[in-house]
Symmetry: C2
Subunit: 250 residues, 2 copies
Amino acid sequence: MSGLLSVIGLGPGSRDLLAPMALSRLASARAVVGYDRYMSLVDPALLQGKTLFSSPMKKEMERTAKAVEFALDGLDTVMVSSGDSGVYGMAGLVLEHLERENLLDAVELEVVPGIPALCAAAALLGAPLMHDFASISLSDLMTPLATIMKRVRCAVEGDFVIALYNPKSRKRGSYLQEALSIAAEHRGPDTPVGFVRNAYRPDQDVRVATLGSCDPAWADMLTIVIIGNSASRLAGGKILTPRGYFEKYA
Amino acid sequence: MSGLLSVIGLGPGSRDLLAPMALSRLASARAVVGYDRYMSLVDPALLQGKTLFSSPMKKEMERTAKAVEFALDGLDTVMVSSGDSGVYGMAGLVLEHLERENLLDAVELEVVPGIPALCAAAALLGAPLMHDFASISLSDLMTPLATIMKRVRCAVEGDFVIALYNPKSRKRGSYLQEALSIAAEHRGPDTPVGFVRNAYRPDQDVRVATLGSCDPAWADMLTIVIIGNSASRLAGGKILTPRGYFEKYA
C-alpha cells in the first residue's frame, strides 16, 4: 500500500504562520521532499531521521517523481512548497505526474493549504486586497510574454487590484516596468504600490509607494508587488482599498 | 496607551488550519470582536473571561467602532474574520475607520494573515490555482452589478482561473448563472468548475463538474466557485490547471 502524499505550504516560512495541519504532516512523514531553499525553512528537528530529498530550482519534475516514488514505496511523504502549495506551487505538478503515470488510483494525494505569499504581503501592506484582485506571475519561463502582458492589460481594464509574483529575475529586467506602465495608463500616479520581500522572515523588507514614485529596482525574484485599484489610497503609510462601507452606510 | 488591535483570519475555521500567530493573539487578547457566525468558530476556552462583542451580518461598521473603542480603552483587542482578514475581510474597514477618525497614530493596528477561502477551496478541488487567477465577489451590496460583470468579462478575456466569492444570496439568484455563461462564451463545455461549501468544516461539500454540466443551484452564499482557465482539465475527479512543466521539460 502506498503512503499518503501530502503537498503542503509552509506559508511565509515562520513557524508562527505554519498551519498545525501542515506541521502534523511534517511530524508524521517518513520522507520529505522540497526545493532546497524551502527545506531550509523547515525546523531541522522535524526532518531528523527521515528520508530527505532536496534539489535546486528548475528541478521540480525530478522532485515530483522522487516524492511519488517514496509514496509508492509505502512512505508517508510530504512535498514542501512555500506559501500555499496550491498557488503557483507543487500541487499541480504532483497531480499531473500522477495523471500521466496512471497513478491516480495508486497514490493517495492530499493538498494541505497554507498562507499564500500574496496574503502575507497584503497583511504587511495594510489592506490592499479588500476588493477583487488578480494574481499574475511575471515569469516567462513557461508562459509567453505576450500572454503575461495581455493578462496585465485585462486586469488593469477590469480595475482589479493586482498582485505580481516573480516580478524580476536576471533575465527579465524590464517586465515589471512594463506592467507598471500599463497600470499607469489607466490609474493615477497616486495609486499605491507595495513591495514586500521575505515577508515574516528575518530580512523582511516592506516598501509602500505610488505608481508615480516607485522604483522597479526595489523588486527581485522574491518580491511580491501589489498595485492598488483605482479606489486604493494610502492611509498612514499603509495601502487601503476601500470596500465601500463608508460610502454606503456612513 | 491604547491596546494592540489585531485583525486576524481564522482560516477555514478548523483549529487545524489556524495559524499559531492568530491563536496567540486570541489567547492574549482582553477583548474579541466579530461577526456572530465567525465567533462561533473560535474555541470557547479562548473567549472565557474576555470582553466580547459580536453582531450579525451588515453590522460591520458597528463592530469596527467597538473594536477600536476597546483598543482605545487600553485592551489588546482581536477582530475576527474568517479566511484571511485581508481578503474581502475586516482589515480594510478597521484601517479606514482609523483613518476617518484620525486615529492612525493613536491605535496600533496589526493584520495577521490567514488561509483565505479560495486557497482552502482550491486544496479540496485539487490544483486549480496553478496559474494566474482572478478573485471576484458576486455580491452587489456595495459594487454595481455592471462593474462585477465587467470584471468577469475581463478575467475571462485574460484567461484567468476565476474564483467567485459570494456567488449567491436570496436577492441575487442569477448572477452566478450569468458569470458562468460569460465564461462559456470563451471556454469549452469541458472546462472544470468546482463548488466548495464550508471547506474543512463538519458539513463540507465539494463538487467538481464542468461548465457544461454544473448547476448554479449547487451554490449558496457560503460557497466558493472556481472556474478553470482554457488549459484546466479534470484529473481523477480533481481540477488540474497545468503550469506548463510537462510541455516544456517532458
